[in-house]
Structure formats: structure tokens, C-alpha cells
Subunit: 256 residues, 2 copies
């Protein structure tokens, strides 16, 4: 049995606030609990709200690589970009919802580090051996809508590595590596929602995943670009190939 | 508060078994419950196990479009393909785990239809207004590992459509459309696991999402190919562009 509940009564978070103290006071944590903390409040506590009249410019500033772009029906531009964490998304993690006009909220500089600091602090403050996930909302290449995923993690296994396990029929589960951190982040979103004002969920019943503080973080979930079969969009890749091919074709024809 | 629990005591499922009867007998369902049913047992009950000495050939047979391929370190080939449901995955939904040697399990022919039949049957058998999700395990373009998603759904909203809602700061949540069906499937996987032999989870606490039987199914989650910025892999798209560009470059040089 898994139980997922929001922590009620957390105040609005501002720069410099001590999230460990706020959470430890509002929640009764037990060994094996996993906290799913919306990245937004981590960013706010870390002072990552910046002045930005133009969200599009802020996205450009946070982008390290443009993956794909496409014109939208209303004359805008959908941009899929890689941010400095290697995460590929539509807005580089730049959040203009739930922020005052003229400001945007950037992602934490080091979400795994933020998760570890929260995890260490909460374990000390409460005596409970907990895990911490920092969640954000991402779109997907081939599926519509968004799901919450883990962009930071500490004190838990982010993958339930079943490679080498046997199925019920006694055959090896060859390539199965469920990303439980992303699944837990999604479960947390189902109770936190986007409009409820409850930015932290506690997931109880997955103590088997909770462990040492030096377990790999959520950065290990990001697929390295050299293994990414979709590292640039279809149109962008075609265009690049076309340019290269055109030049080669001309050169060959002229040279022959 | 969300509760996610497996239904214990379900027997091994075979072709022709009445899943409604099996589930209704094993579970005490309440209004608002959402069942997450592993596609594997739906396939088995629908007789979708087929003889196949060669899983790779079975994948080829189920493929309607090759999206991307890449050689693996051990001399094999990773294939990302679109199956007849439009779902893009590494194995076209062909499952060779938990099946006898020499057989593979194909996806249900119409997972939304299967979900609807289950939903209708369970509502009749139990009197409880429940929703049904049929889940499968998919990889992701930019993130390692897999998560469970909804490939069939009935009797619930698959998206929590927040477009037009206001955030806490009173600003519109422009493009936010959480795919709650996928998030619920992921939550179900956290208790079902891949090796536990418990193929059905009950999610309690999301009655707000449960509704009419004619709500759109999981087919609406699949992004239409014409809106898919990653409809073919980077290398495949580049190569296609290169061939076209090369031919054009040659023709232009010759014609000038």
C-alpha cells in the first residue's frame, strides 16, 4: 500500500527561507517516507526569482542548445531546448506562473545538491530516514500533455534496476529499469496539483527505495546526448543534412 | 490523500478468462476508484499470445513505421518504432517476459475498447463508479529508464486540463495540461512492480477525475505525427536530408 498526501499548512516560500525547518514543522515524517518537493519552492528559497520583462528572453538565457523549434498557430514559436542541467523541455525550466509580474523563476542551480541538503537536514531534524525528490513538470516527445518528473533526488534509488532479475516465468528481464523517481514525482503531482498551493507531497510505502545519501541523483536520469537518438528535431536534422548534401553534391558535380 | 494498493489474490490469467469477474471478486471497489490494469493480463485474456520463435520478427510484424535505429554495443540493434496504435516505443509492445518459451504477447487490439469493456463490466458488477486504465511500460526520448503510461482508458479524464485556469498569483496557466492518466499508471507501477505478480492496482482518492464512459480514451494522449517534432530520429532525418540535398546540389550544378 502506497499513500501519497500533501503537507498542509506550509507558508508561501520566499528567498532565504529554511525549507527544512518549514517542512519538519509541518509534517510528521517516518522512516522510508519520500518527499516530493516542487522545484518552484526550492527555487524561491534559493533566491532564483529574477526580474524579466520577457519570458522568451529568459528562456533564451537559460538555453544551452536548441533542440527543435516550430511555429505555432498563433504566430509564436514552440522551442524545445536543452538547459544547463541537460534537461530537454519547452521552456528551459523558466517558470512565469505563480510569480509576480515582471519576474520569472529559474530552476535551482544544482537540484541534486538542493535535494541532498534537504534530505540531510530533514533526517537530522526529524530523525526519520527519508528520501527527497525535487520535481518539475515536463512535456514528452511523443505524448501530449505533461507529467512531473524528478530533476533532483537524494537518499533514494532513482531507478529500480531489474536488469538481471527473473520474471515469473523464470526468464531474465533484459532491459527493464523503471525510473521510479519519475514515477514517484508523478504520483506526487496527483495530490499536489498545479493550483492547490500545496507544493510538497509525502509518499509513504516505498521505504525499500530509501537509502544512503550517496546514491546517484536525478542527473543520472538525463540521457547523455551521445546516446540520444532524438538530440535534434526531425526538421532541423533534415535541414542540416540537406545543406551538407547539397554542398557535397555541387562539389562532386563540379569536380567530375 | 491518495492510496494505491494492489489487488491481491488474482489468479494467473489465460485466454478467455473473464477479467471483470476475477477483479470484482478479488477487490472491494468504491465510487471514484481508478483501476490500473497491466496490459499484459488484458492481452492474455484476449488471446493475444502468439507463437514466435523470434521476438525481433514479432516486433517487425507489429511495426507500422520505423522511427529510429541504432547499433548496440553487443552487435544488436535498438529500434524505436511506431506500432499500429501510434505508440512509439522500443519494441512495438511485443512482450516476451512472463510468457512461455516460443511465444510472445502482443498488445490488446483496441486498449481503449478493452478499458471501456472492463469499466462497464466493473461498474455493473460492483455498483461502484470506477475508472479503468490499461498500462504499459515505455521508454522516453531524453530520459533513461522506463515509466508506466496509459495505453487504454475509460471512465476518467486522461488530462487534467488546466488551460485557462489561474495560478495562485492570478495569472493564466497557459499550456499546462497534466497527463493524469500517465501519472496514475506510473503510481500504479510503484506498487505492482514488474516481478510481484500483482497486475492490478487500485488508486483511491482521485474521484474528481472519474466520469462518464464516453470521456476520451488514451488514444488521445498519442501525439499526432503531423505535430511530432521528433517523428524520425536525428540520424535518419539527417541522412534523408543529405540524400535529397545531394541530388539537388548535383542537379543544380549540372544545370548551371
Amino acid at each position: 500500500m502506497l499513500q501519497v498526501a500533501v503537507i498542509e499548512g506550509l507558508p508561501e516560500v520566499s528567498a532565504g527561507d529554511d525549507l527544512v525547518a518549514l517542512i519538519a514543522e509541518a509534517a510528521e515524517l517516518e522512516d522510508g517516507d519520500i518527499l516530493v518537493v516542487t522545484s518552484k519552492i526550492v527555487s524561491k528559497s534559493e533566491g532564483r526569482m529574477v526580474a524579466a520583462d520577457d519570458r522568451e528572453q529568459a528562456i533564451t538565457d537559460e538555453t544551452v542548445r536548441v533542440v527543435a523549434t516550430r511555429a505555432t498557430a498563433n504566430g509564436g514559436l514552440t522551442r524545445i531546448v536543452e538547459n544547463r542541467l541537460g534537461i530537454i523541455s519547452a521552456a528551459a525550466g523558466v517558470d512565469a506562473s505563480n510569480t509576480p509580474d515582471g519576474t520569472v523563476l529559474l530552476l535551482p542551480l544544482d537540484p541534486d545538491g538542493s535535494a541532498r541538503a534537504l534530505c540531510v537536514g530533514l533526517r537530522e531534524a526529524t530523525g526519520a530516514s527519508v528520501g527527497v525528490i525535487i520535481s518539475d513538470t515536463l512535456g514528452r516527445a511523443w505524448r501530449q500533455g505533461q507529467t512531473d518528473v524528478a530533476i533532483g533526488a537524494a537518499g533514494l534509488q532513482v531507478f529500480d534496476d531489474l536488469r538481471g532479475s527473473l520474471d515469473n516465468a523464470g526468464k531474465p528481464l533484459a532491459v527493464t529499469m523503471p525510473c521510479v523517481a519519475d514515477e514517484i514525482a508523478s504520483a506526487g503531482d496527483l495530490v499536489k496539483g498545479k493550483t492547490s498551493g500545496n507544493p510538497v507531497a509525502v509518499v509513504r510505502g516505498l521505504g525499500r527505495l530509501v537509502g544512503d545519501l550517496d546514491l546517484p541523483g536525478a542527473a543520472t536520469i538525463v540521457r547523455p546526448v551521445e546516446e540520444d537518438m532524438f538530440r535534434t528535431g526531425t526538421d532541423e536534422s533534415y535541414d542540416e543534412g540537406y545543406r551538407d548534401g547539397f554542398a557535397e553534391g555541387q562539389a562532386e558535380a563540379v569536380g567530375s
